[in-house]
Symmetry: C2
Subunit: 249 residues, 2 copies
């Protein structure tokens, strides 16, 4: 969404008008689909409705996306990139002031992710809700999906450099260290097994909290869910990144 205009202009220079209108139409299809998702949920994108809105016949859509799943994949990639970019910025904003403020960086990232999820609940659900049945995300989705996790891993890396240890020190199960080493190699980070495991626990907790709030599990229970989430984020940060004077277990 952020870059299709550039794509279109680029295409116009390199190739002819056909390529340009193709890029524009592709972007329009995606835009309408995104709106459909926002309104009716990820499961309810409707190719025929998109075609109708564009004044086309439904079969024409298939020139641009081979199937409904392919359209979904494109939107998935965009959503991962949006979330990745937003959290990268949130982290950078704190890190450029004080890169060692790992608690602040985590809270900023969590808050940014939450704000995005609240603003675009159905896009969030597209990423972290029930996977569409029979649909397995192709390999081109993994790179954008990694962006967000990379942000967290960099914070963990910095925390490791500072000698932080989680409040509740995990007992690393056998076999897991090899998996974690592979992650370290791939991401060029160096946090300890304990820190990474705690980080992953907090990562799942973060998305659990967002999902619960989004799915309305706290409806009629907690009024100010935003305030509750803010406190959850602070607690999570403290659980992985205690001040060094604190006792741990």
């Amino acid at each position: 969404m952020l870059s299709f205009r550039c794509d279109a202009r680029y295409a116009a220079l390199v190739t002819g008008v056909r390529a340009r209108v193709r890029a524009e139409l592709t972007a329009e299809i995606k835009a309408i689909a995104r709106r459909q998702i926002a309104e009716d949920g990820p499961a309810n994108i409707n190719l025929r409705a998109i075609a109708r809105e564009l004044g086309m016949v439904s079969s024409a859509i298939y020139r641009y996306f081979a199937s409904r799943d392919e359209l979904l994949t494109a939107l998935l990639v965009d959503a991962y990139n949006d979330l990745g970019e937003i959290t990268e910025r949130a982290d950078a904003a704190v890190a450029e002031v004080d890169p060692t403020d790992v608690e602040g960086r985590f809270v900023a990232v969590a808050t940014a992710a939450y704000a995005w999820a609240r603003a675009e609940p159905n896009q969030y659900l597209l990423l972290f809700g029930t996977p569409v049945p029979g649909y397995s995300a192709p390999t081109d989705t993994v790179a954008p999906a990694t962006r967000f996790t990379s942000v967290l891993l960099r914070i963990l890396d910095e925390a490791g450099r500072l000698g932080a240890r989680p409040v509740v020190v995990p007992a690393v199960p056998p076999g897991v260290p090899d998996d974690l080493q592979r992650v370290r190699d791939l991401t060029a980070t160096a946090a300890s097994d304990e820190l990474m495991l705690a980080g992953m626990q907090v990562w799942t907790a973060l998305f659990g909290a967002i999902s619960f709030i989004l799915n309305g599990q706290f409806r009629n229970v907690i009024g100010d869910v935003d305030a509750m989430f803010a406190e959850f984020a602070r607690m999570l940060a403290r659980q992985v990144f205690p001040h060094e004077s604190d006792a741990r277990r």
Copy 2:
């Protein structure tokens, strides 16, 4: 699923054969739908396929469930009851040995919930995945949904009696105490605001971990996700129920 045979027999005594075959057919429809959900996910139950399998015509199904959503609701209630019953049993098994072993009780409940989710991933997703769009769970689903949370609340209640405080003590946001008091009144429990808030955070974390594992977010990253979850459960328990000798923050 656990009780439809009894329902059928009961109906046979109280009313005639028509009521019995109705109860049996209702149960059969639900059983087939449950199998469909297990195979193809919650979004893909198919009334016509159910009718075909029963040798009926599709319109006949509507004598038993007024719509697809109503069928879904019935399955939702069953799933909530299954999860509630399983976790109640897991808690009771530990509690009858030592009711004050709140950490053990929590781990038992978490483990049981995870085992159920792994065995019936799509049923779990029916409860905690993306809500079906345009579908708002009617009021008859809230009672069974409360069963599981009640288990957690009773553990928190016991922990409060023992004087436990979470490792990271939450700063209770303004407004939230009123909400929590309402929960205490409704459930006849008496845990402190801090303990309840920490409990809710851990509750969301628990489901976040299960959802992440179920959705395959750790695929190609962590091999032994079961072991990882077991450790997560232990960490979560420790975060809310530290041993009283431990320092807290």
